[in-house]
């Protein structure tokens, strides 16, 4: 089944858990060089000329998809855009049939987003191309974690020992799952800050500590990472009200004032201004939220290059959380 000339097994980027610190550092180092490409007058290198990358997004996404497209174009890859809304998926075609059809067109990688956890894993079992997880349900969003690491490292240097607080709706957040693994792999100390109903039922094996008292830790963190509150999930009454959530867990001005000098405020977007983050806080100089978006392109260039163009292995293997 493998196209001619393919001399090593396909690699995927499905979970940060498949990567160890040297893998992450290699990706971040490579991101540095691709960030330089993005700043050129003509931001384009021929690294992936002749390679084809397909997008398969079963869930709406603006920034992630645009970021991947920009990354592929700057590497001179060809792209195939499979828009779910206009496709045979709406005629009842299964995910497997869809991806095998796309694979048959001769692609090298497929970038998959789906509202159900695990779909990229299954796609990896069904096709020959490399699979990049662009967000699966509430499971993981690995490239978001990589761009978060890159952004944090740019400002703070080595992340070993950095104190990271991840705040808000951990339960429904694929960003939180990937970021916990990524920051912990880099040696950071991760604290989850959330009311119990917004935490996963079990944190066994997670390299984290937990607190329900945001104010208690504000003065001792280097990164305050706020998650988007899933307002639509309020129907299931996980917290009494958004008003109470904001009062207990929102980053308002007075809380932001108490962060240590130089501490970063991060958010994966899109923000609910006035819920998890107050409007003016998001615009402070130590809020690096738009920088995260900007770094997304270079990080995704590094991932695509490592998977398709480098001849290097993306992952050396072992996992942060033991299986």
């Amino acid at each position: 089944m493998n196209p001619p000339g393919r001399d090593r097994p396909r690699q995927h980027l499905l979970s940060i858990n498949d990567l160890v610190r040297p893998d992450l550092e290699r990706i971040l180092d490579l991101t540095d060089s691709f960030a330089e490409v993005s700043e050129r007058a003509i931001p384009r290198v021929p690294a992936l000329r002749g390679k084809t990358v397909a997008w398969l997004f079963y869930e709406d996404s603006t920034r992630t998809r645009l970021s991947f497209e920009a990354a592929a174009k700057q590497l001179s890859a060809d792209t195939l855009n499979f828009t779910v809304r206009s496709s045979s998926v709406n005629k009842g075609e299964s995910v497997r049939d869809t991806v095998q059809t796309i694979d048959a067109m001769g692609i090298d990688a497929i970038v998959v987003r789906h509202s159900c956890a695990g779909v990229p894993h299954r796609v990896g079992d069904w096709i020959d191309a490399s699979v990049i997880n662009a967000g699966d349900g509430r499971h993981e969003h690995p490239t978001q974690a990589l761009l978060d690491l890159y952004t944090a490292r740019t400002h703070l240097g080595d992340l070993d020992g950095a104190r990271v607080a991840i705040v808000g709706d951990i339960l429904h957040s694929r960003v939180a799952r990937s970021d916990v693994l990524a920051f912990a792999a880099m040696g950071a100390e991760v604290t989850l800050v959330a009311p119990r109903p917004l935490l996963p039922s079990s944190l066994d094996g997670w390299p984290v500590t937990v607190t329900h008292d945001f104010d208690d830790i504000l003065g001792e963190i280097d990164i305050c990472y706020l998650l988007r509150m899933q307002i639509e999930r309020q129907a299931s009454a996980l917290v009494p009200s958004l008003r109470e959530f904001r009062a207990e867990y929102g980053l308002n001005s007075s809380r932001a004032d108490r962060l240590p000098e130089g501490a970063l405020i991060m958010h994966p977007g899109p923000m609910n201004r006035g819920v998890e983050i107050d409007g003016d806080v998001a615009d402070r100089p130590n809020a690096v939220i738009t920088e995260q978006v900007a770094n997304g392109v270079a990080v995704r260039m590094a991932v695509l290059f490592l998977l398709l163009g480098s001849g290097m292995d993306l992952a050396e293997g072992s996992r942060v959380m033991a299986a």
Binding site: C116, A117, R177, S201, S202
Partner: protein
Amino acid sequence: MSAGLAAVRPHGTVAIRGGTVVDAGGSRQADVLVGDGRVIAVDPAGVEGDRTLDASGCLVAPGLVDLHVHLRQPGREDAETVETGARGAALGGFTAVVAMPNTDPAIDCAAVVREVQDLSAGACCDVYPSAAITVGRRGVDLVPMAELARLGVRIFTDDGAGVQDSQVMRRALEYAAGLDHLSGGRRVVLAQHCEVDELSAGGHMHEGEWSSRLGLGGQPSEAEELMVMRDIALSRLTGSRVHFQHLSTAGSVAMVRAAKEAGLPVTAEAAPHHFTLTDACCADYDTVFKVHPPLRTGADVDAIRAGLVDGTIDAIATDHAPHTSADKERPFDAAPPGMLGLETALALALTELELPIERVLALMAWQPAAVAGIDDRHGRPIAPDEPANLCVIDPGVTWTVSGAAMASPSRNTPYEGRELRGRVRHTLLASEPVVIDGEPQR
């Protein structure tokens, strides 16, 4: 099919030679002669018949009884039919299965009960339709239980869902207690799929360490345990029998054990996957491991095994639940729960449980026959004039599980590629061989 059967029937007697006869009375070396639906002779000195089945090195046992199978007919004949399900059952050593009512339409009225009974004529095993407790399995209005009991229904269940409303369940239990005169003195039993919907809503696997890591919605053990607790209380209130289906948690086993010690008329079953697999199997999002109730933790597996050993759990029931590959290839959240079980259940019990063969057969033959109220025909002693529903088991042979090789049009076995010990060699239904040397005869 009836013409074909007529041609097969007049085979005369069958001699089962060289085996060890095992039933509730113990085991002894003997040949067995059967014919005309009955056991004719059990003789250590040997028997001669019109046909001979070799049983050397094998166990000659009562045919197995499965309290819990989904035969998908009417409604999903692409996944399974009564015919293919019964064939798989016979290959697994079963001579009787209880078909669950969550078909489409549900088995909730006389017409559908009769339809399944008609479809069962000439099948490889006896198929006893259960019926829903409530119309459409919607948990509101009781089905015509007396009418269905007259047709032969002995087990009522809304399986696939539990009866959520306590008052509805109470009324059903009270009403069922007055139906014994319609069923030949054999008691009608209400069986419960224990799951409190509010707690398990949005869940697709056991809630715990693995669901949290995988980002999948969880079903806590307590969703099952709360309904077990409630139905034990309702059994106490009404004095009626309750049968607990597919127990999956340590807490459930402990509560049933205590209820039995208190003298309440409760019985329970457990499925092979709940004493062999854990939630860690879901780590790669393979939907073949998605099942309701979900695979639980290692501690739960240990508790189910302990319940089987100490008699808290009365029966091993497969919860055989075929699904097409297309359905199982949907995302984990969307794929239907369930796994094949008929052709692997006995081998799993022999391979995984450290129980003497008599205990395994108690859990798979005479005890479930008693729960189902069919112990006049199945799970009987192997003795002259008894019904000749038998299976011949080769306890030492090892084999490799293959979904593609099974009788079901579905392939969703979670044991694909697994090597198991012990396999059914022959199965006889009313003295007719329906499986010979692992090959179905119908």
